[in-house]
Symmetry: C2
Subunit: 462 residues, 2 copies
């Protein structure tokens, strides 16, 4: 497979420019103001798949944003790889913290990326990593070395819960039938430490609303005599963790999968520097559940984080007011065996139960998904491992990610196939944050590694 | 003094229209975007004072917004009344909760105000109540019955701490010398229960900032492993009250004036219906410091209220982010003997001390002021009491207000004179809230009552 590097070298600039064009479209699925841009992005993906050699490319309408499908079936007797990715992106705010506009991609050199990195919202999550697969597809078809069947399924609602995708998958078992699902929407430990994500956390995302008096009140005339919804909300949220940072929701830990000493010892082998971690975040100490290491806290343990809070006067200067209402967006990361719908119910029941007299509380579930673990002895994992070994010169390390791709467990349930998470991003890529970027080196390394996966996956299935 | 009612009847419509014109100017001192409007309002006040018969009217420049001064000295041997008021207003947000635009005054009938009420920001606090004094001045000069000397001092920074006014007062003892200070910036118990405010609470207003990681983080990849500034802020704020709703800041209560059984029994005589109070606010229960009644909680006890909180993603939909920073605006209402600067220091010291590892905390004091109590045996109080008795047919009840007019204690300290708080507003006027209004009946009743105060104050000083 010598001509892979050659083909990439010949088309480097075009591969970069095509991704940059894709990144210019602000496909923010969470904000309906960008509806037309999201739809425009779906058309863009359709054209890209056709150009890459896919057949039967179509824009599949849904209740929400469309799913772009395309395939190339070369022989029904050969295995089929289903590639999943998403073309929507997170909102870019806080805008003022970006060094360059989020939808005007620029390539800048950084300490970690002397070859340059593409700065833009979606550069890594997931436009950049998804587009690696489109270009790898082009490479394999143009160089006549596509060894098996391929199906692409690229959605536009991953950042808002993939609700339409789940219906689509349930209704299209035949169309989506495959032998393995391949996703690049995660990261690796370091540029010189390849890793394969073998676990994902589940998610339950809710919004809470605390209502006190029927109108904003003067804090002098009423202060001290009525329940202040903001003070109450802070009390309620604070009570959700105890002094050991355990979550206090009754039943929350009942189904949590506890890892064995051996498994935890295995995890602890992954290279990790607490000093560098703190330095990178400019914090003087880490913080979390008592009895667990940093890597355990954000991989094998569930969490409860406030993602946003607002209420009262937040403008310039001072306003002496008691707000009528206070709000918060709260998400819980779940681990395998915790059921997100059950956890959402437990949260709702508990949160409503701790509301004091004098306020009304409303809990609105947003979305969620189950956690996931994949075995390292599967054909898919072995194929991925060999692919990394060839292109990185090192066997990749299996690792649990703290993130969530809720749809993965649904894939297994509906399509009866395992997912392989081949991520090429880095922790420092700042996904979901200002100045998100993706290393040019990582982008091309991904395009180079993917064909090897197809090769070994086909081989190992013979 | 028969012709008072007559003069008011003759000029009713003009008195209303002039106030409406004044209310149309959005003089929001807290928001620098309205700077020109605030300055325009000062010019408007200057013209009004001249029209009302004041002399030596001038716009006194300050570091901040100007103070409008005017006087009428008829005889150096007669007593002098210094009228204080403010022409700035609170921000109107949340705008969407107003039934009519805050700066497009409309007169609407309500259950409490069958004669109609003027709906606009500042209608009661304090443009409407301040303008009663301007019109009373016009009345007394036009009908040749101004019995003593008058000085007006109308400022534009009351809603943001009156910082320029305090300098102005310190530098102008001679110019502002007086025998009593008269202010209408408070309320009365009910339309048929006149009252005079004999106490005000002090204020300490601060802004807090909690900073965790140096950038917003993905809540999956980092959740559970780093201190979430919003979760931490809620924990810190929640800890500021104990289970009895006592404030936990060390030393906070050290200087709090404790009222005697007798004084509390006297207070308890003021007409008050807890049922109506809860009904008016649509709350199922009141909430506050254990061991005190609702009227005590918002009058003779100090408080700590969050006036605003914000952090993370507050837009539509869901964003799985751990914010780098979280913020809150917090104000404490203080009672006589508590020193606001000392309390601000105690808060700062305590709040910084409870910050856990992993975050940095910043406390920025906004502004503040001392509490105030006035004796009911002073000449000023007696004159006000007789004035109400004449126009309402009832002796007014002395009452403590939970609000703050920080400048009042400074007046006493610098000008060595007592302040009489003749308020004509009602609790239901919704000051600082959407749909602020001021009863037309109250407006004219104020204009009618004020000349009687001048009359009795001059008489009692003979």
């Amino acid at each position: 497979m010598q001509n892979i590097k050659k083909y990439i070298d010949q088309h480097k600039d075009r591969f970069l420019n095509e991704l940059i064009e894709l990144l210019k479209i602000p496909s923010i699925s969470a904000d309906s103001a960008y509806k037309n841009e999201v739809l425009k992005t779906a058309d863009h993906i359709k054209a890209s798949l056709e150009k890459a050699g896919c057949e039967n490319v179509e824009i599949c309408e849904t209740k929400g944003y469309p799913i772009v499908y395309g395939d190339k079936i070369i022989d029904k007797n050969l295995p089929t790889v289903l590639v999943y990715g998403h073309y929507d992106v997170q909102p870019p705010d806080p805008i003022n913290l970006w060094d360059s506009p989020p939808f005007e991609p620029v390539i800048k050199k950084t300490e970690l990326h002397p070859e340059g990195a593409i700065f833009a919202r979606g550069a890594c999550d997931d436009k950049g990593q998804m587009y690696m697969h489109v270009k790898a597809m082009e490479l394999m078809t143009q160089t006549n070395q596509l060894p098996c069947n391929v199906k692409f399924m690229i959605e536009g609602e991953e950042e808002v819960g993939s609700s339409s995708l789940s219906d689509f998958v349930k209704e299209n078992h035949e169309k989506l039938s495959n032998d393995v699902i391949l996703i690049s929407d995660t990261g690796m430990i370091a540029k010189d430490v390849p890793s394969i994500t073998t676990g994902l956390r589940g998610l339950s995302y809710v919004e809470v609303e605390v209502t006190g008096p029927n109108r904003d009140l003067h804090s002098g005339l009423y202060g001290g005599a009525v329940a202040n919804p903001i003070n109450i909300l802070t009390k309620m949220i604070a009570s959700l963790h105890d002094e050991n940072n355990h979550i206090t929701i009754p039943g929350f830990y009942d189904k949590v999968e506890e890892l064995s000493k051996e498994e935890r010892a295995e995890m602890a082998k992954a290279p990790f520097s607490l000093e560098n971690y703190k330095k990178a975040l400019d914090i003087d100490a880490v913080y979390g559940e008592a009895g667990y290491s940093t890597n355990e806290r954000n991989a094998i343990r569930p969490t409860l984080d406030v993602n946003g809070i607002w209420g009262g006067y937040t403008g310039e200067g001072a306003k002496t007011v008691i707000a009528s209402q206070a709000f918060a967006k709260i998400s819980m990361r779940l681990v395998p065996n915790q059921d997100w719908k059950e956890i959402t119910e437990l949260f709702k029941k508990h949160f409503e139960s701790i509301a004091p007299e004098g306020v009304k509380v409303k809990v609105t579930p947003h979305h969620g998904g189950q956690g996931y673990v994949t075995p390292i002895d599967s054909v898919g994992y072995q194929a991925a491992s060999k692919a990394y070994a060839d292109t990185f010169g090192k066997t990749p390390i299996p690792q649990r990610s703290g993130g969530s791709i809720p749809i993965v467990s649904l894939f297994e349930q509906e399509l009866k196939s395992k997912t392989i998470l081949m991520g090429f991003g880095l922790d420092s890529d700042a996904i979901h944050s200002p100045n998100e970027h993706f290393g040019v080196w990582n982008y091309f390394k991904g395009i180079e590694t993917i064909p090897y996966f197809y090769h070994y996956f086909t081989e190992l299935n013979k």
